[in-house]
């Protein structure tokens, strides 16, 4: 999915320039962790200091190192989804351009349109073929059915509960506040 501009590539549809800075930030976050200047955001979307591909893996479990990637992916797709479906701030043409260029995950957004799946964290967690007994991931269990008051972080993406009724916010659902504290340790 080339995001490289050359003289032969078509121009992006209108409206792309407004959202481009945010998308760039997401891209940068995916690569390495840098402190974001909050004032550059017009959308008001808060991206905590999340490190992804280039960050050190010390102090983390093997699977835990992958969680920020899933979180960012969710957040990026969420941004595009909200722009188009909720706030209706971009055109259909631009939306489809974004999906095609890989700025958002069309399959994940398709799930968000379904009843009961509005806050799904990632596609791995609803895939029954990935589990021993053909069930979904533990993060799909609503909080009140979970008992014990135990915190669960699912092994796929570190999600702490993404069922629609569990009260988790959309950006906070994938990998909780622990990621925000990684800023202080580095």
């Amino acid at each position: 999915m080339p995001k490289i501009k050359s003289s032969r590539t078509k121009r992006a549809p209108e409206g792309f320039d407004e959202i481009e800075p945010t998308l760039r930030e997401f891209q940068q976050k995916m690569k390495d962790g840098k402190l974001i200047n909050l004032s550059t955001f017009l959308s008001g979307l808060l991206i905590a200091c999340i490190q992804s591909e280039n960050d050190p893996h010390e102090g983390k479990r093997k699977i835990e190192a992958l969680w920020p990637i899933f979180r960012l992916h969710h957040q990026r797709s969420r941004y595009v989804y909200e722009l188009f479906y909720k706030r209706k701030a971009i055109s259909k043409e631009l939306y489809e351009y974004l999906l095609k260029q890989g700025y958002a995950d069309g399959n994940l957004i398709a799930k968000w349109k379904k009843a009961g799946y509005e806050k799904v964290c990632c596609l791995r967690c609803i895939q029954p073929k990935d589990t021993n007994f053909g069930t979904t991931c533990v993060c799909r269990v609503p909080r009140d059915k979970l008992e014990e008051g135990k915190v669960v972080e699912c092994i796929h993406c570190g999600c702490r509960g993404c069922s629609s009724g569990s009260g988790a916010s959309s950006t906070g659902s994938a990998a909780g506040s622990k990621e925000g504290s990684s800023k202080t340790t580095n």
């Binding site: 021993n132 007994f133 135990k150 915190v151 669960v152 972080e153």
Partner: protein
């Protein structure tokens, strides 16, 4: 599943349909989901590949899996995970010393594998294990002793999570979501257990403890007056169904005023609580360690001030503890299945997706 092998020395891998397990390892929930993986691990005893079964024995427990192969478990008649006897739930060493069984299985290298292979063929042909041995006279006395040593209810504490080693060092970053136990490890000798020792029945610290403990040898119980002066109770064992509270009262009242008597026929014991320490001491002295009522000989010893067994909820207090413990034991059966709030599993909830409630 008889297999015809062209070469009798050829090593064939074990295939099994269901594991050989004890009830405690399976857990309290009658509904279980178990995974089966052929040749997933090597047996801890004979190092041959075998079918590994893995399941969750209850809420908050670690996932248990079979550790030894079926052949090894049949040879010794033990559970595939906990390596305790299937009939009594006792360590191999305890059972073998009680029944006088000798173990002459080879333990080294090729010898061991050859033996295991032979036993494998033996079991395939005539499906009998240790359980169907002859019943000699010495054995029935041993069996009596084993029956006394048995636990009365399942000990699910062994299914708990392992201790978080990061927590022990002081830095568990997982915190609340850490699945391992955040407790400090305890107990000296019992910590050094070896699976091979436990299986073959040599040098097993748990077995040593049981054999020298309260119900087996007898030398373990408190026969001298305890230092804690507030203990005014005597602990009586061997209490059969025929012996009742008035019987005990009639025997012990001469020594001093009795505060209360608690009899638990289920565990064949009784507590006689005196109001004064002097009364208890006199009673102990005069009874000489034993008392015979209704034709049953019973043993008398001092009650201990710490909690009795895994059943009690209280921490160790001084004199009130035996009475309090007995109250907890006599709390009666669990509430009837109609009660709406005591659900251990969602399947017990009658409003849960149309499934019917479980009757216990």
């Amino acid at each position: 599943m008889a297999q015809i092998k062209a070469d009798p020395n050829k090593v064939s891998w074990e295939e099994s349909e269901f594991p050989i397990l004890c009830e405690t390892c399976l857990g309290d929930n009658p509904y279980l989901r178990m995974t089966k993986q052929s040749q997933a691990k090597e047996c801890k005893v004979c190092t041959r590949p075998f079918t590994v079964f893995r399941w969750c024995p209850g809420v908050g427990m670690r996932f248990k899996k079979t550790e030894i192969c079926q052949t090894c478990s049949k040879v010794k008649n033990v559970c595939q995970t906990c390596l305790l006897d299937l009939e009594y739930g006792l360590p191999v060493q305890v059972r073998d010393t009680a029944l006088g069984l000798e173990d002459n299985a080879p333990r080294s290298d090729v010898n061991k594998e050859f033996f295991a292979q032979n036993m494998d063929a033996h079991f395939q042909n005539n499906e009998d294990g240790l359980g169907s041995g002859g019943f000699g006279k010495a054995e029935s006395a041993g069996r009596e002793m084993l029956k006394k040593l048995q636990r009365t209810d399942p000990y699910y504490k062994r299914n708990r999570q392992h201790i978080c080693s990061f927590f022990v060092k002081g830095n568990c970053t997982r915190g609340a979501e850490c699945p391992y136990r955040h407790e400090m490890p305890q107990e000296g000798e019992l910590k050094h257990q070896n699976i091979k020792d436990r299986y073959y029945g040599t040098n097993d610290p748990v077995a040593r403890k049981i054999l020298s403990g309260p119900r087996a040898g007898g030398a373990g119980r408190q026969m001298t007056a305890p230092e804690d002066k507030t203990v005014t109770s005597l602990f009586i064992t061997g209490v059969s169904e025929a012996v009742t509270e008035p019987d005990l009262k009639g025997f012990f009242y001469v020594f001093g005023e009795i505060k209360s008597i608690v009899v638990v026929h289920k565990s064949k014991c009784a507590f006689v609580n005196f109001t004064t320490r002097a009364g208890a001491e006199l009673a102990f002295e005069k009874s000489g360690g034993g008392v015979n009522l209704q034709g049953t000989p019973m043993r008398v010893s001092w009650a201990r001030s710490r909690p009795v067994g895994a059943r009690s909820e209280q921490k160790g207090e001084a004199a009130p503890s035996p009475v309090a413990v007995m109250d907890a034991l006599q709390a009666g059966p669990p509430p009837p299945p109609g009660s709406a709030s005591s659900f251990t599993y969602p399947s017990q909830d009658p409003t849960y997706q149309g499934s019917t409630s479980k009757h216990r």
